[in-house]
Subunit: 227 residues, 2 copies
Amino acid sequence: MMEMTQAEGDEKFILALRRIALMGGMHDYVVISSRELGELLAMSQQSASKRILELLDAELISRDLGARRQRIRLTQKGIDLLRKEYTEYQRIFEMRDEVVIKGIVVTGMGEGQYYVTQPGYQEQFTEKLGFTPYEGTLNVKVPASELHKVQTMKKAKPIVVRGFERNGRTFGDVECHKATIQNIECAVVVPTRSHYDDVLEILCKYHLRRTLSINDGDEVEVRVSLV
Amino acid sequence: MMEMTQAEGDEKFILALRRIALMGGMHDYVVISSRELGELLAMSQQSASKRILELLDAELISRDLGARRQRIRLTQKGIDLLRKEYTEYQRIFEMRDEVVIKGIVVTGMGEGQYYVTQPGYQEQFTEKLGFTPYEGTLNVKVPASELHKVQTMKKAKPIVVRGFERNGRTFGDVECHKATIQNIECAVVVPTRSHYDDVLEILCKYHLRRTLSINDGDEVEVRVSLV
DNA sequence: ATTACTATATACCGAGTAA
DNA sequence: TTTACTCGGTATATAGTAA
């Protein structure tokens, strides 16, 4: 005897629910025969009839069964199930608008600070990011399970801060992405050199450790805009 | 022998594609074992393995099969299939003639009040909304989980209140949507500036805080008409 | 026309197991 | 550890048909 949880068993209902919803079944009863539903779902009249009985049994639809025609509408439970599906697709496709990366605050090697304070960069930060960064970056280590989000971020169009030369030293381009941490505006700096880095360097107008009262080991959510 | 068209046979692939997409497989290869995928899909390792082979055969994913681990990503065809599904859900849910957005009453920055009281707007509000707004807006903060409804609202055809110039200052167009809160007629003003705003500004003939006895922190349901 | 039952056919899943 | 084969049990679909 194979038992199924609610969520697992739901899957086969979805297609039928969607067809009914597309015919207006979320708002009111719609006339639909089992033959018609079968055609829309590429299955036999018999199977469609059975599917309707299953949907009724699962309380995902309600039915008004007349002598020659049945009328069907979705129940609230049916609408909720479809909306859950919809939300999952939104998560998939709107992941492109922003991505929330969880990570742990760590102490960096002071590299960020060195770069941020270079006047050649600083002017551009102010112009292109809309704020003058505090002289120091917040370093956030990203766990492996979140690294794909960093990849996503790196593929989004960055705000490019141009490199320059100074005292015979070459400073490369820096790619930034606007972000927020607890609603405070900041920016993630992607050093163009290292492609496999799992530490985000974050610029902010404020001293984030003090402003947010965070320290090494604390978890933070960096909400990166990808637009 | 039962032949299936492409579209019909696709159905069983969708769930697996969605899981892979949610792990970032639309953007890059992601490491995922057949056991892991099986757990996520509530099926055995064997079945998940078979499903992966089927997805490969249908050219919906591509795979980099290493000695100890496989990496999978969606092909363009796989992405297209998911997007087709997403579009169908959009059709279902955006066909709706109203959307109910839950939010929390907050205190705004007084901007709404400034705009509402401009005579250039006020006349149009009276004409186009059917009521003369109280001199102040109710601000409702929408949680992230409800933001997709705001997107839906923004895609509906708005009532446009034309901008104007006054004392050398330019006032832009304002987009409104008719709505109700607890059956009281009102209108949601869409701030044209930022697309990611999560605060609704609400116009009403009455002083809503007093009329409904609501205050900061209270939850309200804004029922927005999309027709 | 319908809906939907019963019996048969088929597709699917997972246990066992190899590589 | 992996991936993925074979095979047998079971869930699911359809044809035939009743009401």
